[in-house]
Assembly symmetry: D2
Homo-oligomer: 340 residues x 4
């Protein structure tokens, strides 16, 4: 922690701060600048906030020097983490392509879509069985029935499956049916849920909250890692900004930023932020070009009749085109699409 005093701070005011620090076991390293006095604080300041010191009289500002997360930081673990799921390893030179419908609607559609996407090279099947809907009047998902159809599709087409969890009480279902448990954007800071999922031996796909900073996102990952589960895959899915021509603003910058600050793998979901299928395709390509470890895209064989988010679902044919483009872009970076 660095504490900067105002130019006119009195000795008494500075003494008040230093007394507090000494009393609480910290060492102070004072620096006399041209206008300001600055204190460098040595010791474990993780539980102290800059605002706390800014509330002392005579203090101008305070800055945190240490990152608030540790196990998820690149400094702690300089090499890329890799998460192995079935035959696929996420975080290396092979890209994950997770595809499927927004909501699982029935057994037949799940099978149809799974067949097509795996033919075109998807290496994970995704589908929602418990849907976080902002309106209580919207379709809320098939529940366990949906997870069963998803599992069956994964087994039939030989890929791992991913689905989103919303409640602690559903953990046994997800342990039974699902290979990767997704934490949605709205639950990124549902700490009660994070603590429970930290106890499992299942990979977690942790989506970024719509207003979460990169630092908060890594802190949520730290909840998982510090309490026992280090099989974490991050997923960028757009942040909330003033711009309304897309549903959210896909922050692709977070890909290289995460790669710099953390060792965790990161994939990108362009479907939810873009909201319309013709906008999804360019951003899926851009995600790979930015260095993501994979993408998650929605595909539906009859999107006009989809029970949720049909407008953003690719037609299977579009998905096939996208896969071809992505392969070339991946090649420019020395990567390939993983195969099951």
């Amino acid at each position: 922690m660095i504490i900067v005093f105002k130019p006119n701070a009195s000795n008494e005011q500075m003494k008040h701060v230093s007394d507090y620090l000494v009393e609480h076991g910290f060492k102070i390293h004072p620096i006399q600048g041209e206008e300001h006095t600055v204190y460098g604080i040595i010791g474990n300041t993780k539980n102290l906030t800059p605002e706390f010191f800014e509330s002392f009289k005579g203090v101008s500002t305070a800055f945190r020097v240490l990152e608030s997360y540790k196990m998820c930081s690149r400094a702690f673990h300089p090499r890329n983490s890799k998460v192995k799921i079935g035959n696929i390893t996420i975080g290396g030179n092979e890209l994950a392509v997770m595809a499927g419908p927004c909501s699982i609607e029935n057994k037949k559609m799940m099978d149809n879509i799974s067949k097509k996407i795996t033919q075109h090279g998807a290496n994970f099947i995704r589908g929602g069985a418990f849907k976080p809907r902002s309106s209580p009047y919207a379709f809320q998902g098939l529940g366990e029935e949906g997870l069963i159809y998803l599992r069956e599709a994964g087994d039939k087409y030989g890929t791992p499956v991913v689905s989103e969890i919303m409640a602690i009480s559903d953990i046994p279902l997800f342990e039974k049916y699902v290979d990767v448990i997704q934490i949605g954007a709205r639950n990124m800071q549902n700490f009660a849920l994070l603590k429970e999922l930290a106890r499992l031996d299942k990979p977690i796909l942790l989506k970024r909250g719509i207003s979460a900073t990169v630092e908060e996102w890594l802190n949520s990952a730290e909840y998982l890692a510090s309490k026992g589960n280090q099989k974490i895959i991050l997923c960028e899915r757009g942040i909330r900004t003033f711009e309304k021509s897309t549903r959210f603003t896909l922050d692709l910058s977070s890909v290289p930023v995460i790669k710099k600050k953390s060792h965790l793998p990161i994939i990108v979901d362009p479907s939810h932020p873009m909201g319309q299928r013709d906008l999804v395709i360019p951003m899926a390509r851009a995600a790979i070009a930015a260095g993501a470890d994979g993408i998650m895209v929605e595909v539906h064989d009859n999107p006009d009749e989809a029970l949720s988010d049909g407008a953003q679902s690719l037609y299977p044919k579009q998905f096939s085109e996208l896969m071809k483009e992505i392969k070339i872009i991946a090649g420019a970076l020395g990567k390939t699409i993983a195969k099951n």
Copy 2:
């Protein structure tokens, strides 16, 4: 729902949309403008999104006409809702003043602070026992022990008590000890939690999520109302913006906006967004001037040693000064501070 076609949309493209609508039981009211054709759609379009229609070829944009919430809208219930808790009624001409420490630290501090704030006119006692902390390494609260101290303080000083819940499994504790259950900003869209709290006969204080629009906030209230619990008090607590000189940007505009769109009472928490006590006081006054039904402020008798958020806690003496100013401002609007 209003659907606007592109100037150059073909008849075939428009027919594709109208076929879909007719097939799904909607009536169409076409308008031929100077450049665009517009369809007004009649029927229950709550489950259809504008993006869905924007994905049809030839469509330029689509707009929702109906609000997505109903029971919480002013149109549904034109007069102000009032929520009665003990001797206090929130939503009329009497203002709620909820005060207390951020975290409940021990029995003695809870008693000390409660004594002082109730002397100065607080009519609710607040205190956190389960703390949502972005870092897993920060103080997480006393749990049930904290709720007991809070209950004892409420009983001793004759006020209702408020505390934040984080997990469904803690509901029995909150039913036992607490008069108003607070849903924090991070859980505003924890729909699993909302559904469970909707079954209780306890008032709910629903904080706005840090990136929630007013519409999403009212939709979360709708989860409570539509599933059985209409004792809802909204609480504005700041949104996330680019400005970093305060922790969050307190959106006081939401007070008159909510009063216009909804019949629910709304209070304001200036402590969390402002982050520093000297900034809290002006914004508490402003909240009352903007027409809020009350405020929630943090007060601590020894904020330098607080286990969380000390910097934003008022000294009891500051709280006393604030109460005097607020009384005058309330008077300008024909209101008074409620008394237990």
Copy 3:
């Protein structure tokens, strides 16, 4: 400037930074923390950015210690600045109330509105003659003719007048007709314009840019002050956020923040951000309660026929009610409405 090295930074990497600093005349004050080495840099670092040091290998982050503005900072000038215009002094215990139409439409309307607002206690008349319109097809203002009507109204009703400038070439007109020159939000960082206005001996009303941080706003004020014009009044008018139920989000927190960081007076314009007159009134009251030195509100005697922004203009009767409420709120803070 504070430079924080990564835990695993090599001696060579740190030497590269220290060589650079020594070569450029800075002194280094190293601090050896538990995990990180930190350099405190002594000397004039105003032209160095944190990003610059963050681009050196081995550096984790860098922070600026000094504020980037000087003459406008509270540290430089601890007491409130006061700006005297006619008989009114802004920045003390007397509040400015600037009222009038958005656009000056003709001589008669300017006279009518001015008569009514000054009767009800407005102490400045405002009106736009050059309008910054985002669409090239919208009404662009009467130009010089408008300034003449404004000047006539000011002279007749005995108040100073305020209007917005858009181009350097119009400065002679503003010098001739106007008492306070307003720089609109879109021009807050039009540095060419700021430099020219800095040469005048006229008070400047500097509106905050819609995406300007408080620090950038004060830096724009610094352009004026450092180049010769210290008669600056700041005006908060809302920032751009994700929330769309109001046109902009009025950031009233900036009032106490500016009071803390700067000695300049600050007023608030609630009309533009709120966009609808029934929302303007509560926020005008809140601005005074938050400690602003005045307000600027739009009033129109026939808003349905206004050529711009009619929806947000108060009726004269509403303005009269607002003045009564504001007087009481000002009284709670020991202030009064200034009289010409």
Copy 4:
């Protein structure tokens, strides 16, 4: 314009609106929905705002149907516009690569850098001579001297040159020395400047304002187009959001959005938003993958000594690597890098 009435709107309230509309020459097309009455308004409503109608009693909301820009919309001009500069055509299948230093510092550096970047395939040279600096104490550029060095480099290495204008009074200099005139983010809504530049026969590179919506950006382009200059190239350069791990949030989504709404070419500047060179490279690649018509990147042969923004400038060797990757990605989309 669509006007939606409240469910409980009275006949008198609706008549007030319809009287206003009829009196002003509009036709009304009423729709009776299940809960709401809706008016479709036919006629030229460009100068009416939704807020205007929302201020009438009984009105719930109003929506604009027509886009506020016309000449820049895809509907007006369905095929891509192409802007020809020297031998290069922007907007087709050949990509523009504009490179060079942030500020022109002296003749020698301008020559050195220009030599290297053109060797590696840059087809435009960029360099700043008039710098928009938020602080009045920062380096403000060499002025005309800088433009001369830029022109000389362009002539020597056979490429067109680009530089940013800040003041109307500098137009003659830019006409003399520069091939493409850049309007910076801070001046995107400097309407006085836009109107003057609209009179020239020079291509304009119009950067997006840091808080400009896509619609506002296209409206600023409309100022140019409607007043005579249709040689417009848009440039995405990041928007302001809550995320602070990058300087701005590069909104690459705007590339496909602009391609959908407008016929104008669009390039991307990843240097300014990312702020650090190792983050610039992935985002430059992503821009091409998202479908941009080119990029603008800063390159410096000695960035540690750069007078501005050294941290974000690529080393010539990095630029060379980037060009190789971009060529492959362009190929995946059927494009090539343009050659002079």
